[in-house]
């Protein structure tokens, strides 16, 4: 059995699965889709009231929540769509150009 963790973009064709079949669940964890991002949201914790409006609006799962409070972005999943910035009533999120939050 070929597992997702054992293959990558350097794996020769002989070691891949027929039809690209995946034989286990949860393999998205091994695949950083955050690299697709061209704009990046930046979280300003001091302005955040934890109203939780941004969380359900996020089309991915890039805003983790713990104990009723939102945490900083999960950039592995964030595609940089900017919806969170748009819905935030408190300007606690700003978008910056580029794939990294510090650019």
């Amino acid at each position: 059995m070929i597992y997702a963790k054992d293959i990558n973009e350097r794996t020769p064709w002989q070691d891949l699965t027929p039809g690209g079949e995946i034989y286990e669940p949860g393999t998205a964890r091994a695949f950083n889709t955050g690299t697709w991002r061209t704009n990046t949201p930046v979280f300003h914790e001091e302005s955040c009231k934890h109203c939780m409006l941004c969380v359900p609006f996020c089309p991915d799962i890039a805003i983790p929540v713990k104990d009723g409070k939102r945490l900083d972005f999960d950039y592995m999943h964030c595609k940089g769509c900017g919806i969170c910035e748009n819905v935030c009533p408190f300007q606690a999120i700003t978008m910056v150009t580029g794939g990294a939050p510090n650019e």
């Binding site: 059995m1 794996t11 064709w13 891949l16 027929p18 039809g19 690209g20 079949e21 034989y23 393999t27």
Partner: protein, 396 residues
């Protein structure tokens, strides 16, 4: 046991003996009888098949894809525009490596709309990644469908198989054929036991995930290698089939080719007509022969080159117009196969029989006359021509 069956009945009977888990069913002339007979078997409780009636051929093939991915042996039948409507999902079946078996009853494609036989439907699907096996008669249609199952399902192959027969000519004509005992068939096709399938509870499986460019090409190479491997598997299965049936099949059939100088390459029921013409010419001392291609995908390139190596002039007979302006698909494959020979025969292409246009022994004899002339003079004339159409020009 001997029986009198039409080609469609013969394939339906093969399906009954296989007793597949699922059939995706949508009617289209001339293949309609196949799902019709199977529906009767289902209604009479003679098979356990889950018979899924759908709203289109795109859906009947999609049913088969889903079922096969789930771990169920699935079959389907269609013709012409039905196959064309499946086009997108034919690729999905092959690229997901799902060994579905499909009976294609060859019919012309629209337009103008026509329900009669030629090979333009399955030739249009020749590059979808399906194995294609063509029958000359009812017996072959039955045998090919049975052999398709263990060919496609072999772990070294895992590709869907399309068995083709000529619409009406083969599908509706009743012939004497020899059927096998059902227990012999079951033993021959074996249980379908894929290593991984959606309903296997031990390991969740994802089928057909999105393939980014760093992976797509590798998966296509895997698929291409499977198609290459299919050739050996087909020969294994035909050898096994010969043991239980006494009927011998290869990748193609060579008819009176031992010392043939003039030869035809063709597919399907027209081979019967051509064989009669070859026999007549042989009586007149003309060294005529023919190669009937059975397996078109994978194409038996090296084998065909060897079979034609000793000939002087060859006519490829294409029963589909590929609109390449350079000859039909069988011609392209044959000419490519012969390229590596040190001494090649002269080669011409004849597109014939479109939309049910008849071909008779006199037509074939005339064609051999043209080949004889080419062999003597070395003058090929036009390489790619049509045969059987009304024309203001005199026939060659």
């Amino acid at each position: 046991m001997n029986n009198c069956l039409s080609g469609n009945e013969a394939v339906a009977y093969a399906i009954k003996q296989i007793n597949p888990d699922v059939m995706g069913a949508f009617p289209i002339t001339p293949s309609t009888e196949i799902p019709q007979y199977v529906a009767q078997y289902v209604a009479d409780g003679e098979v356990n098949t889950e018979y899924v009636t759908v709203e289109s051929e795109h859906s009947s093939m999609s049913v088969c894809i889903a079922a096969q991915a789930a771990g169920a042996r699935s079959v389907c039948a269609t013709s012409s525009c039905g196959l064309a409507l499946m086009y997108e999902v034919l690729y999905v079946a092959a690229s997901c490596r799902l060994p579905i078996t499909l009976a294609c009853v060859n019919r012309a494609l629209s337009g103008p709309i026509n329900i009669n036989n030629d090979h333009s439907d399955s030739m249009g699907a020749r590059d979808t990644g399906w194995i294609q096996i063509y029958a000359e008669n009812n017996q072959e249609a039955y045998d090919n469908f049975l052999m398709a199952v263990p060919i496609g399902e072999a772990p070294s192959v895992r590709l869907p198989v399309m068995t083709c027969m000529d619409g009406f000519i083969t599908s509706h004509a009743v012939e004497n054929i020899e059927l096998m005992e059902t227990d012999v068939v079951r033993k021959f096709i074996r249980e379908y036991n894929p290593e991984n399938y959606l309903l296997k509870k031990e390991n969740p499986l994802a089928v057909g995930p999105y393939d980014v460019s760093p992976y797509y090409m590798e998966h296509k190479v895997l698929e291409a290698e499977a198609m290459k491997a299919a050739k050996a598997r087909i020969l294994e299965v035909t050898a096994e089939f010969e043991k239980i049936s006494g009927r011998h099949y290869g990748l193609f059939e060579e008819y009176r080719m031992e010392d043939a100088e003039l030869a035809l390459v063709l597919i399907g029921s027209s081979a019967g007509t051509a064989k009669a013409a070859v026999d007549k010419l042989r009586e007149d001392g003309i060294k005529a022969g023919l190669v009937k291609i059975r397996v078109f995908r994978p194409f038996p390139s090296e084998e065909l080159a060897r079979a034609l190596a000793g000939t002087k002039a060859v006519a490829v007979m294409d029963k589909s117009e590929g609109f390449s302006a350079n000859g039909g698909p069988l011609f392209a494959e044959t000419r490519s196969a012969l390229y590596d020979l040190k001494e090649r025969p002269y080669l011409i292409d004849i597109v014939f029989g479109l939309g049910g246009r008849d071909v008779n022994t006199e037509d074939i004899e005339k064609l051999f006359g043209r080949l004889a002339n080419i062999a003597v003079t070395g003058e090929i004339g036009p390489v790619y021509t049509h045969m059987g159409q009304r024309s203001k020009e005199e026939k060659a």
